[in-house]
Structures are given as C-alpha cells and as structure tokens.
Symmetry: C2
Amino acid sequence: MKKLTKNQQRTADFISRYIKEHLYSPTYKEIAEHFKVNVNAIQQTVAALVKKGALERNERIARGLRVKQVPNAELLHGSVKMITIPLYGNVAAGEPVFADNNIEGYITVDKPRRLSGEMFAVTVRGDSMTDKKIIERDKLIIRKQSTANDGEIVVALLDDEVTVKIFKKNNGKPYLQPANNKYDPIRRPFKILGIVVGLTRDYTEV
Amino acid sequence: MKKLTKNQQRTADFISRYIKEHLYSPTYKEIAEHFKVNVNAIQQTVAALVKKGALERNERIARGLRVKQVPNAELLHGSVKMITIPLYGNVAAGEPVFADNNIEGYITVDKPRRLSGEMFAVTVRGDSMTDKKIIERDKLIIRKQSTANDGEIVVALLDDEVTVKIFKKNNGKPYLQPANNKYDPIRRPFKILGIVVGLTRDYTEV
DNA sequence: ATAATTACTGTATATTTATACATTGTAATT
DNA sequence: AATTACAATGTATAAATATACAGTAATTAT
C-alpha cells in the first residue's frame, strides 16, 4: 500500500478510533467538525484513503466507511474475516449433538480462507490424534458437512458419541483411523458431522 | 431479559446478520423491505427490542442500530475478549525484529485468560517443535517478555534469527531445547522475546 | 371485559448525509 | 516551467434516513 500522508494518517486514525468507540462510522460532517475544516476537505482526504486502500467506502450509504488496513496497528474486531461460532461441549449419549443446551460457549476465529458454510467448534478429549499434532483441550474449528475425502480429519458421531478421527476410504468400506498407534481403526457405523478446518490452542489454560 | 416474540426474534436476527455482513446497521426501510412490511411496523418492533434490551439505538443517527444481547447465539465480534495483534514474518538477519515492515498481517484471537501485556504472533518454520505438537505454519501467539520459567516455550532471538524452542534452566546455564530429537540443544547466547501463550492452525491453507 | 401490547398500513416531514460544482493555494514531481 | 497530488473554502442539491401523526386489528395479559 502507498504510504499515507500525515493528514491522511490522522484522518484514518480518527475514523478508526471513532468506529471502535461507536461501532458505526462517522459522517463526513462529523470528521470535518472534529478537524475544524470544510466537509469537502474530508471528502477528498477520504477519497485518497480509499484509493490507497486504507479505507473502504460504501457509496450513498450513510456512515458507510470502514477501515481496511489498520492504521496504527489498531484493532479491527468485527472484520468480515472473523467468524463467531458455537463451541459444543461434551455431548451426553443419546442427545442431539447440535442442541442449544450443548453449547459451552462461543469462540471467534479468523474465517478460514476459501471456505464458507456453517461452522462450529469442539474441544478435543483424549490422545487419539497426537500423531497429527492435535492434543487434549485443543479447540477444533469444524465445517459442517456429511462427507469427506480420504485422509481428512473429521468429527464423527459414533455410538451417540462425538469423536475426532482420520477418515479413510481407499476403495473399500470407509472407516475411522486414530492418529496414535495405541488405538485401533474403528469399523463400526458412524456419521460424519464435519471436517476440521482450523485449530486453536491456549497455553494459559490450567 | 424479557423474552422476545417470534417477530421480534426474527427481526433481531436479521439485523444481527446484516451487521455481521456489512459492518454497518441496516436502515428501517431496508429491514421493512426485507420483511415486506411498512417502515413503521419495523420502527415499533425495533422500539420493542430496544426496550427489552436486545438492541441499542442511537437516536437520529443513520444506521445506528447495534445488537446488545446476541439473539440466536450470533456474532459478538468486537468483544473485549478479543485482541488484534501483528503477525511478524520472516525476519531478515540483522534487521530489528519488531520493525513495522516486518509485519505480515494481523490476526485476531480470543485474549488468553489471566494475561495482559503486549502480544504478537509469529509463523512457525521447520519441524523443531513437533514433539510439542507444534508444526510448520502454525501461528503462535506470544506475550512479549524477556524472561521465562524452565520448560516454557519461548520465542528467542538467536544469531539475528527468530526461533521457537523450549527454555531450560535447571540450576545451570540457560539453554534452548528443540522438541524433536533430531536437533541438539542450543547453548549459544540468545535473547528471549516472549513466551508462547496460544496457537492457531489453519487446515485450509495450501 | 377491558386494557395493554403487538403488528401493521398510509402519508408526510424534518433532518441527516453524501455528493456535486466552482475555485484557490501549496507542495511535490516530472 | 508545467503537471499532478494534496488540502482547503463556500454554496447547493439530491438522496437517504429517521421520525411523527392518524388509524386498524389481532393477540395477550389483567
């Protein structure tokens, strides 16, 4: 991105701070009043900022400015790239998995690239996926889907229990493969709930 | 909070989804058009939602609605629990590590509990930490600090290079321990830049 | 049963907001 | 020396937006 002039930088900073505080963009007039200049001075500065890629402008939309690049490394919460999804807890046997009362909390993550669809998260229990570098208490970001390709890591419903395994189907009957040789492949019937698209780990947890 | 009626719920949901998508609130007219009703029907529903505490309305501010309680477990971006931090890229030898032009991007993560201080992120290169289940391309969330306890995973500056290792100091001279037995402990001088407090992994990356 | 809340229609209006046009001056490039 | 990007001013205007008033009807609570 082209470097911003001092004036452009302070304008972008003000807009950024304003949005952070109000959760909606300032109007041209408000920005102008803040800097005690004419509205059109701001219009031109904003136009320059849009051109340089620092701001996004929604034409003819009131209060439609938004920050693209973070001017002074400020926050950009609420970015389109973020997504908030439910974290499902331990699912009791027999209960529907996606019941609202199974929601343990919500986590917000960077939306994985090139992916859409409904997403959710589960907490890993046990050590059956350690060879894939997935450990107890890791939170997995899952995209809901009922099929998977060979070798993909899936969340599956198995005997009324939710489990994370590697999905295998090399020409034969599909099965679930743990990533830890102290566990055997699982060949009982199961249902795929989704595939793993992301992972978060918190080293400050107990 | 008082329970929402069905109509109020679906209105709140629409507003929530709209804001999530556009990052600015819809106008009364837009909401009305979506549900194919009169503007004033929406005005009253919104007024009820404000009264019940589900929405916040900024009087006479265009597109000034915002979601307070998350109606159907929808988004809560911009939460105080989130933090946006710079992601530092490959640091060329000799260059200062935290120079702005080393910033590769920004990531937003749940703020680790009980932790404050300045934070940043780095991308993992190589396989020296695989025994700790940290692999290439994982992004580590680091809290800046210059000391560490025995056994903590640290980011350290070593010969003008940034590296991730286990910090060791059992009574003797501190050293850096890789978590992969194909690498030897490092006993050259180093400087701790921070300790690992979190990790994110994206399975959809190339 | 009666009042209050909810959900709606239609029309109108004041205010807010973005945007257009005409002009000036300065600093940075070419 | 000429051109372009930048930073302003002032005046207008169109479009977007919130809001006010008057009234109907169904549902829910007292």
